[in-house]
């Protein structure tokens, strides 16, 4: 059965190429999953930041950000993720990231920010919490 739609018909229209895609779903009642697609750089980091603020502001105990569809991660995007992890921590929650691509794993590793997140290599594991 399909998940209940989280975006109404008046959800944000498709943007120009290179723009970010963000979509929130609730695969479990206690989980909020933010799926991000596109490139995370200075152009798109504000949009990611907004989506992350909404995610963390929600009541769900399990917060997962699926970065499988992200093809580039700059420090501006990483900074937004780090801030979100700190905000989640304020309410005793971890920020779970699904990371598969080198383009995402590499910046997280070289900046030593792995310990700020709970990293998973697939969505199923991430949703186990």
């Amino acid at each position: 059965m399909a998940e209940p739609a989280t975006q109404g018909p008046d959800a944000s229209p498709p943007r120009t190429a290179g723009a970010l895609g963000t979509e929130v779903s609730h695969p479990r009642p206690d989980a909020a999953l933010l799926a991000v697609t596109g490139e995370l750089d200075t152009l798109t980091a504000p949009e990611l930041d907004t989506a992350l603020r909404e995610l963390v502001a929600g009541p769900h105990p399990l917060l997962v950000v699926d970065l499988t569809g992200v093809t580039f991660l700059a420090s501006s995007g990483l900074a937004a993720l780090i801030q979100a992890a700190h905000r989640a921590e304020d309410s005793d929650r971890a920020l779970h990231l699904v990371v598969t691509a080198r383009a995402v794993r590499r910046p997280i590793e070289i900046t030593g920010s792995e310990q700020l997140f709970t990293l998973h290599s697939d969505i199923t594991t991430a949703l186990r919490g």
């Binding site: 383009a103 070289i110 900046t111």
Partner: protein
Amino acid sequence: MSDLDSPSVPDLDGASSVELRTSASPALIPTIRAVASDLAARADFDLDAISDLRMAVDEACATLVDVAAAESSLLCTFLVRADRIEVHAVVQTDSADTKVSTDTFGWRVLQTLADDVALEHGGNEDGTGSTVGITLTKHAGDLPR
């Protein structure tokens, strides 16, 4: 004379060169980093080094575009050498007082990504023709650290 006025790259000493001049706009940085990535891939950089160069060039360009004068250009020069790629990026600024802060997360990331990185503030004494540039070097494979 600022780098932006110089018509061509200096003596190449066997390196091949690519120059990209774009509007100093964040919207064009994806194009510049794609070129960086392509050059590194063709120069047989290992996958981490390609990834690092792409990020480093993005970081450098984003830093410079942020301080560039309105309606100005960003000039990126890539020198592809046997074992490394050297990148020089420069923008015009409104005044010689425009400085790039190196006390940022982005700059720290840039230093981690590149094997060598330097910031240069240039221009005339009277403040006209002021520029800010970043030079970075990335080797084809991991250097011993």
